[in-house]
């Protein structure tokens, strides 16, 4: 059987006859009887070597990739011998857009970087602009920022655990439990900022609007009830035989490699490196809170899971203290300027401990109303640097949970 569709080509081009190899996908001439010939990225194989390498493109549309992300995997039997991540499906050149808008106009775009944690993204950007132009932040706004950032951390980590379990095959239940709790926090976000996910809440030198009446009590309720949920979650998961069998000793990452490859956030701390920017830089008012930095020991998937669960408990400590101590007062500094901001000529690099790792912003001002250069240091992208190193020698099923434990959001990877 062979099709030929010469009408489209206007009769000018030569259409290969059915006995010549077809130009797959380019012309309309497809010969279904002949095996399709295509090109491959595989190395040329020596015929003496037994076995055959197989190239699998996982993604971009694959539920385990958490978005449009592709892993080109080369398999020898079931073992991975090569893995190359492929990015760019969600690339919209956020940095170029930001160079064309005012400083204020970029805040809503930062929401869309890591769309699970818009509040922390706002903070990273606001912090850098405050560094660049020397703004102060009033007391109450600092407390609100800490509360929002820690709630965001809860949302992110709880979702991550849910998705990780989904990747391991625990279909639905843990994820739905996680989403039930996330819903309560999103309601808080909605009450404060008007939006559930794209909050656009922080401003340079403060926050956009004050908390509504009764918000703090609601937040206290959520924070009080959260440990009960965490206990239940952990009782179901932490000692679970399947989780332990799948996660322990899988995707091990060494300390030295992790530091050299710029891994940050829970990924790094699971390897046992004590580096938390909340402790190191003490940005905002993090020096006032008493919390500990949970560390892993082996750097495997299970440690990454456990570090996140423990981090949630530390976040709850911070939240409790912040909700207790938050003072009345201004929410935006009177000297800070949002609209028509023209910082002095210069540059600044600011960073925060986002839920996924170090979220940095690098701004260069040329004295005009738009930044000359606007750069996001995306933790998700850089944490993927060592994906291949962690997956080599393991199976596809392991690669799926390793990717899940890295915790990426493609809005941030591709920007």
């Amino acid at each position: 059987m062979s099709f030929s569709n010469s009408g489209n080509t206007g009769g000018e081009t030569v259409i290969p006859s059915s006995d010549s190899p077809s130009l797959n996908g380019v012309t309309a001439a497809i010969d279904f009887d002949e095996p399709q010939k295509s090109y491959s990225l595989l190395p040329k194989q020596n015929s003496e070597v037994p076995g055959e390498l197989l190239e699998v493109a996982m993604g971009p549309h694959h539920p385990s990739t958490h978005g449009v992300f592709r892993m080109d995997v080369v398999l020898d039997g079931e073992r991975i011998v090569k893995l190359k991540p492929v990015f760019g499906y969600l690339h919209r050149n956020h940095e170029k857009i930001a160079e064309g808008t005012s400083y204020l106009g970029s805040i809503p775009y930062t929401d869309r970087l890591d769309y699970l944690c818009s509040m922390s993204n706002n903070w990273g950007y606001a912090l850098t602009v405050e560094k660049l132009s020397g703004f102060q932040v009033p007391e109450r706004a600092e407390y609100i920022r800490v509360i929002m950032a820690e709630l965001t951390r809860l949302v992110n980590h709880i979702c991550l655990v849910g998705f990780l379990m989904q990747d391991m095959g625990a279909m639905g239940t843990p994820l739905m439990y996680a989403f039930r709790e996330r819903e309560k926090i999103l309601d808080l976000f909605e009450a404060a900022s008007g939006a559930r996910m794209m909050c656009n809440y922080l401003r340079f030198g403060g926050v956009r609007c004050d908390l509504p009446k009764g918000w703090l009590d609601e937040a206290r309720k959520v924070v009080e009830n959260f440990p009960r949920f965490l206990d239940e979650f952990e009782a179901l998961l932490s000692g679970n035989e399947i989780l332990i069998a799948r996660a322990q000793g899988v995707g091990v990452l060494g300390k030295e490699l992790a530091v050299n490859a710029g891994i940050t956030g829970p990924m790094l701390r699971a390897c046992g490196v004590n580096y938390d920017i909340r402790k190191v830089d003490k940005y905002g008012i993090y020096d006032r809170f008493d919390f500990r930095v949970p560390l892993g020991e082996h750097g495997d998937v299970f440690d990454r899971y456990m570090v996140r669960v423990l981090e949630m408990r530390e976040s709850l400590k911070i939240l409790k203290a912040a909700l207790r101590d938050i003072p009345e007062g201004l929410i935006v500094d009177a000297k800070a300027k949002s609209r028509g901001l023209r910082p002095k000529v210069g540059e600044a690099y600011g960073r925060i401990e986002g839920p996924k790792g170090e979220l940095g912003f690098y701004l260069i001002s040329d004295g005009s109303a738009n930044p000359y250069r606007y750069r996001v240091r995306p933790p998700s992208l850089i944490n993927l640097t060592i994906l291949e190193d962690m997956c080599l020698g393991l199976t596809i099923a392991d690669a799926v949970i390793i990717l899940g434990s890295v915790d990426i959001v493609l809005g941030e990877v591709d920007r």
Partner: protein, 216 residues
């Protein structure tokens, strides 16, 4: 405490002979001056910064590119001139041209000593044909994807990078979209109809093997 940038500069000059360094001031309240390093010694300087016991900048947090176009700066200079037989001080505006170049910026921190940032800058000669820089990926692996991104969006070619390909744009993309003078096409989706030129290109993937004619 981390030494000041002047001290670091002096120590680099001691241990990496021949390295030309320059401190670039930063006018913003952030107070993060940076260190401009000559390209030939960049890898040695980076290695020194990473391995020195007092600095131990083992973590390159951020690597990014900047495109600086040709700038004309007008400066007022006081000149002494003879005007009608009398020497007078006059103000003249002088135009100074700074040539265009591309720049790669690295923000370095230390995870073991918990200090930073030290900002390194590397500059290309121009932004048209001499856009090569040494890659710092062999020193800090965290630069791997970020240098690929700079190559992709700015067109700086990093010599010594293990895998320098486009990362965000597709492989067949021609221009460098983050450059200041980049003009976006009207229609990104435009593709020539699958005739002539495209067919010709596709032949490298699907070579047409000439089959010998079989005579009946």
């Amino acid at each position: 405490m981390i030494p000041t940038l002047e001290q670091i500069k002096a120590r680099i000059e001691q241990s990496v002979p021949g390295a030309r360094l320059e401190i670039i001031p930063n006018g913003s309240p952030a107070n993060q001056p940076s260190l401009l390093v000559s390209n030939e010694h960049a890898v040695d300087v980076a290695k020194f910064l990473r391995d020195d016991s007092e600095l131990r900048l083992d973590y390159a947090s951020n690597a990014t590119g900047i495109d600086w176009l040709e700038k004309v700066v007008k400066e007022k200079v006081k000149v002494k001139r003879m005007v009608e037989g009398v020497e007078k001080e006059l103000e003249e505006t002088v135009e100074k041209k700074t040539p265009a170049y591309l720049e790669a910026v690295y923000h370095l921190y230390s995870m073991s000593l918990k200090h930073g940032p030290i900002v390194l800058r590397l500059r290309t000669e121009n932004r048209t044909d001499k856009t090569h820089l040494p890659s710092l990926t062999p020193i800090w692996r965290s630069c791997e994807f970020q240098e690929r991104e700079i190559f992709d969006l700015y067109g700086i070619i990093f010599d010594g990078h293990p895998d320098l390909r486009r990362i965000l744009m597709w492989d067949a993309f021609k221009d460098f979209p983050m450059r200041r003078d980049y003009v976006a096409p009207d229609d990104y989706e435009y593709e020539p109809t699958p005739h002539d030129a495209v067919l010709e290109k596709a032949k490298c993937h699907f070579p047409i093997v000439e089959t010998p004619e079989v005579k009946p």
